[in-house]
Amino acid sequence: MDCVVTGGNVKVLAKAINSLSRIGDELYVEPQEEGLALRSVNSSRSAYACFLFAPLFFSRYTIPRGHTFRCKIAIKSVQAVFRSLATLEKTVEKCHIELDEQKNRLTFTLHCKHGLMKTHNLSFQDSESLQAVFDKDSYANVFRCNPRLLVDTVVHFPPSLEEVTVSVSDERMWFRNHVEEDADQSKAMLTELCLASEEFDHFGVKAHNGVTFCLKELRGLLVFAESTGLPISMYFDEPGSPVVLSLTDSVLEGNFVLATLSDDPNHRKNNPRRACTPPPPPPPDDFMNDDIDCYLIAMDTSIAPGPSGAGPPTPPLSDSLCSKPSAAANHRTRPHSEEEEDETADSGRPPNKKFCSLFFGSVLPASSQMTTQPVTSQQVLASDSEEDVQ
């Protein structure tokens, strides 16, 4: 792999990396024919972001021939290459990214003013593919606005606020801070902001839904969007389904996919199969426990039958990302109808991994589908880890 980024695009690349750093600690790098994909995911797998830079973004773009290459690097190391964003524009003339597969190194060379050359040889690890599968075009609600609007909205919420609830009617969108049900209502401060549809470039509501997601992760995108001035498109469906925020221009595309809190009682009610399996024990109060993932998966698996319905799944996410392109193809949208997942039963994968594998689809075949192309009738069920509190 050999790419060269020149001029102002170096700063755009640096900002994208910074914005990915707000999601997760590792940067997943995958040079593809359609462009260079840079991705990140958070530890609880409830937030995912991907930036795809088209070949035209680069002044030179060559990818490894004959085989797909993927790696992950500690995001802090990459950020160190692009330190002092403010002076990047003024000092860096071009950035050369080169892969040395023999030495397992990715080299970033910055050609700066006055002949100064900064070379960073970063070691990487091979990684599984990280590709969330989502079909934003099938979502009921679609909006597009200037990033300034969202920035100005979000500024009213304290930086410590974890979650925000966005709800819509035909003409309005409300942003409200999410307060846990068991929190003391009399002590909680509620902030609500209402935006009229006129403030948006596009306001398409098909379902009067409200979704709750983590605000912190959104801020990363907003910083990037504001600096580039690109309009943000927001897609969401029902609670439980992730909210997708995208921005595109001719040479780049960014997607932030954030899990939303699902309406728990509905899931339980509508899924008789779920009622048969014993509810898993609630996770310890310390949310940093790895078992959260298992709980999440078991909880939200209102899906196909399978061998290990009861036990907590131990395999990490990466296991579920094997090449099974068609396995996920036939999910239904409503929990109660998901018993009919015969294909998935055949796939041999236990359902409690299905949650993750829905969100992070298997590596798509060599036709290399872009992450944003809709995978037919694929539904993503991604629930926010906070749900486990109830």
Partner: protein
Amino acid sequence: MPLSTQSQADDEQYVLVASLDNARNLSNLLKAITFKDHAIFSATPNGLKVTVEESKCLQANAFIQAEIFQEFTIREDSVGFQVNLTVLLDCLSIFGGSTVPGVSTALRMCYRGYGYPLTLFLEEGGVVTVCKINTQEPEEPVDFEFCSTNVTNKVILQSESLKEAFSELDMTSEVLQITMSPSQPYFRLSTFGNSGNAHYDYPKDSDMMELFRCDKTQTNRYKMSLLKPSTKALALSCKVSVRTDSRGFLSLQYLVRNDDGQICFVEYFCCPDEEVEEE
């Protein structure tokens, strides 16, 4: 001015009297070498030299020539003492270090000799403060035996570009490797940190390079922790000269312009971390 009303008689008891209209011309320079509490002061008719050392591996010197002072009187060939540098700096900025133009702290530094404290008379806006700082027996500074005849490689760079490199250095690297060569990469700073290695290359024909005189390729490593304090001197300076000798010892000389545009020097000597095979 209260300071100038000191009677002549008082002055005769001091072996050293040095006055500055702007104490910052001294304090700024001293801040560039404050990585240890104690400093060795050495005054000669040429001026004042302040030395700070770290475990015999690193030495920093700040030179303020006699001409910089408004008054510089020395009654002996050489006067030396040791004081707590942190305390001295606190005294020099006792009026709060305001940067309002035209307002500055005036300093009159007096030393009576061996066993006596260092007396500072500081005045700002008509208010006078007298500080007396205990002195100690001056230690003999290490002689790094760095002489110009042994210098193998020398470059002079404009500080601006080096400042950028130093501010970005990977601090997880234990060493800073400096390569100087008559051929590529000419002048290279390298770090070896947790995430990988990084190199900062300055070509010999860069417009930041004021002088490039490298006779043979040399690569030396220095402990990052030792060189870190030098970034303060770098920040103040406009030019820096980097020299290495045949043993791999490093000399960094910083040209600093004070508030009044006068030139002072700060120098750092550092011994190499280990023997590195010369390429």
